[in-house]
């Protein structure tokens, strides 16, 4: 008897939680709604992108419906895409979390007649989206190589820390960096290591590399977790500032670390511009206007003493 009562209370509680979360997460439909599915919840990069997209959508008379997955993970993003497809919005703006795995659910959305615009990342299958807006990542990696070369006097061994093998965006940055590095004959590429998005793994990579190569001149880290971890590794080794660290993106934390001297330069994207152009292309597709298949907004190199660029390109945590 008592057990059934406990069970009843539990069931009631569970359903209350379900109802609450459902209300919070329900996808919106309608021709004037643009669903925005970033790569993950809470990253300043995607928040800045959302800010840019929201402003542009409002300007054009549309509403933006953000539906972020909890993590940068195709198994979490797929159900969101399905739910959004079922709600039938005007268009979908998405940062696919896998170039291949996200193909199937997005093809389903396309079959339902919803135009898809890729922002930041892109599918391997170019026939699914009407437009792709992303930073020119190989070029950004190249900017990183130039900035690092300048910082270390164009010589010495350098290390690349990438997130995971298979993340198209960061892999392209690493490739662009390695390619441009070849222009500096006295700089040696020690190769690319993957930190699996764990800051602690990046710290290990840095200190272990320092053990083998005490003359390490510089590190290029392709995203936030690798930069944070690399900065911690350098601090553990007592080599902060001595080994030059170049990070990608300009989140508040990275900007603060650069001001504190843990990072020497940042390659910043322009997420707000990516979001705004994504919305523009989606609206063009909806209104039957010509759509640009590929757009590549510019990136910039920021250093601590460059206040003007810093103020313009630092990412936001809220709009």
């Amino acid at each position: 008897m008592r057990r059934t009562r406990v069970a009843a209370v539990l069931v009631a509680l569970l359903s209350a939680v379900l109802v609450l979360t459902a209300c919070q997460g329900g996808a919106k439909g309608g021709d004037h709604t643009l669903s925005f599915i970033p790569g993950t919840k809470g990253e300043p990069f995607y928040i800045s992108m959302q800010c840019g997209a929201q402003a542009k959508a409002a300007e054009l008379g549309y509403t933006l419906d953000p539906q972020p997955p909890d993590k940068f993970d195709p198994s979490l993003q797929t159900p969101i895409v399905s739910a959004v497809t079922a709600a039938k919005p005007g268009a979908i703006l998405i940062a696919p979390t896998s170039p291949v795995a996200m193909g199937a659910p997005l093809k389903e959305a396309k079959r339902a007649g919803i135009p898809i615009v890729e922002v930041d990342t892109a599918l391997k299958d170019r026939s699914v989206a009407v437009s792709s807006v992303s930073s020119d990542n190989p070029k950004g990696g190249g900017l990183g190589a130039d900035a690092l070369a300048k910082l270390v006097g164009e010589k010495g061994p350098v290390l690349i820390i990438d997130t995971t093998a298979g993340t198209s965006t960061t892999n392209a940055r690493a490739r662009g960096f390695a390619e441009q590095l070849k222009k500096y004959p006295e700089m040696k590429n020690l190769g690319t290591q993957y930190n699996e998005n764990e800051a602690s793994k990046a710290a290990t990579i840095v200190t272990a590399t320092l053990a083998a190569h005490p003359d390490l001149a510089g590190i290029f880290a392709t995203n936030l977790s690798s930069t944070e971890g690399a900065a911690t590794g350098l601090r553990n080794a007592g080599k902060t500032g001595q080994v030059k660290l170049i990070g990608f993106d300009a989140s508040p934390k990275q900007v603060a670390d650069m001001k504190a001297g843990a990072i020497q330069a940042l390659i910043a994207q322009d997420p707000a511009a990516i979001g705004a152009s994504g919305v523009q292309q989606a609206v063009n597709a909806l209104q039957g206007k010509p759509v640009e298949r590929t757009l590549l907004p510019d990136m910039v190199t920021i250093t601590a003493d460059d206040q003007a660029t810093l103020a313009k390109y630092a990412y936001k945590t809220k709009c």
Partner: protein, 326 residues
């Protein structure tokens, strides 16, 4: 008998660890056997070691805790938020008082999840695998909710300076904390009634109950202990990285379990030791570093780590079987 068996296992696994160190030292004598390498190895393993000490107790009771990584994140999130609100939004310049409150908040937040896990396992009688799988997701969600999905990245610089990067008598403070936790854990497990109850419940919970051990109360205490240690680990991680690193710690649970099992603790409960866990934690850590130092290609590293883990346990199992057949 049981104690003897686990001691023998520890010796063999320790030999594997020594062998690995020797091999890497021979391949790269200038880089591997150095004070720098040892120091950074110890500092970087400290957080996982603290988690694994708690995990050892849970696994000896024949339980499991999949939630440690998420509880770690939840505790560091609560701690960072508390410190920031005490310091008016940005605790970077805050003093030791704020950092101390942060520590207490981290410990309480971690222990609270532990109590919840323990109650669900013992009172609601849901299997530990399911309960802690549930709190693995829920604690991460709660951390994201509390931080509004964003990493908190303002942490008292004094705390980072002292705990994260400071030394006492030449030993990094991160390592000292992990060492104290390990010694206390070993003492608790081998010399106290708490430890004997832990083994007894893992061997046979029904027998433990019949001799008058309050199994429910003891299991809640064990899960509270692992939660408390996850809270401490969260605070240590905060001091190291200066941010809550919400995207990480997804495989901490598996890494801790792997370390504990490598160290000879039985997943079926009743057998295990803290010394074994220490060795078990360092085998993957040494492998990861060694492969980077000796220049093994990045894609080969996870394959090689996996192979060595399975081989080490297989080796250990076949030795045990040979011994039991004699």
């Amino acid at each position: 008998m049981v104690a003897k068996l686990s001691k023998i296992t520890t010796v063999w696994i320790a030999l594997v660890l020594v062998l690995l160190c020797v091999v890497f030292s021979v391949i790269n004598p200038a880089a591997f056997p150095t004070a720098f390498n040892l120091k950074t190895l110890l500092v970087e393993a400290a957080v996982l070691l603290v988690l694994s000490v708690g995990m050892t107790f849970v696994i000896i009771t024949a339980g499991i805790d999949l939630s440690v990584g998420s509880v770690l994140l939840f505790a560091s999130m609560c701690s960072a938020l508390a410190m920031n609100s005490m310091a008016g939004g940005d605790s970077t310049a805050a003093g030791a008082d704020v950092a101390f409150v942060g520590l207490l908040v981290a410990l309480v937040a971690g222990a609270a999840w532990g109590v919840l896990n323990g109650l669900l396992i013992t009172v609601a009688k849901v299997p530990p695998l399911i309960v802690t799988l549930g709190s693995f997701g829920a604690a991460l969600g709660a951390a994201q909710l509390a931080g509004d999905g964003t990493d908190v990245d303002t942490v008292p610089e004094g705390m980072r300076e002292w705990l994260g990067f400071g030394n006492t008598l030449g030993i990094p403070n991160m390592v000292l904390v992990a060492l104290i936790v390990t010694l206390l854990g070993g003492w608790l497990l081998t010399t106290t009634r708490f430890g004997r109850y832990t083994f007894a419940i893992g061997s046979n919970p029904e027998a433990a109950r019949r001799v008058g051990i309050s199994v429910t109360r003891h299991l809640i205490m064990v899960y509270t202990l692992v939660g408390l240690l996850a809270g401490l680990a969260g605070y240590m991680s905060l001091a190291q990285f200066g941010a809550t690193t919400l995207s990480g710690h997804t495989t901490d649970n598996l890494n801790a379990i792997a370390g504990v099992v490598l160290g000879g603790t039985s997943l079926f409960g009743g057998v295990g030791s803290i010394a074994g866990t220490v060795i078990g934690v360092f085998i993957p850590a040494v492998l990861t570093r060694g492969f980077i130092i000796t220049g093994v290609q990045a894609y080969w590293q996870p394959i090689a780590v996996g192979l060595v883990l399975v081989a080490a346990v297989w080796f250990d199992q076949s030795r045990r079987r040979a011994r039991n057949n004699r």
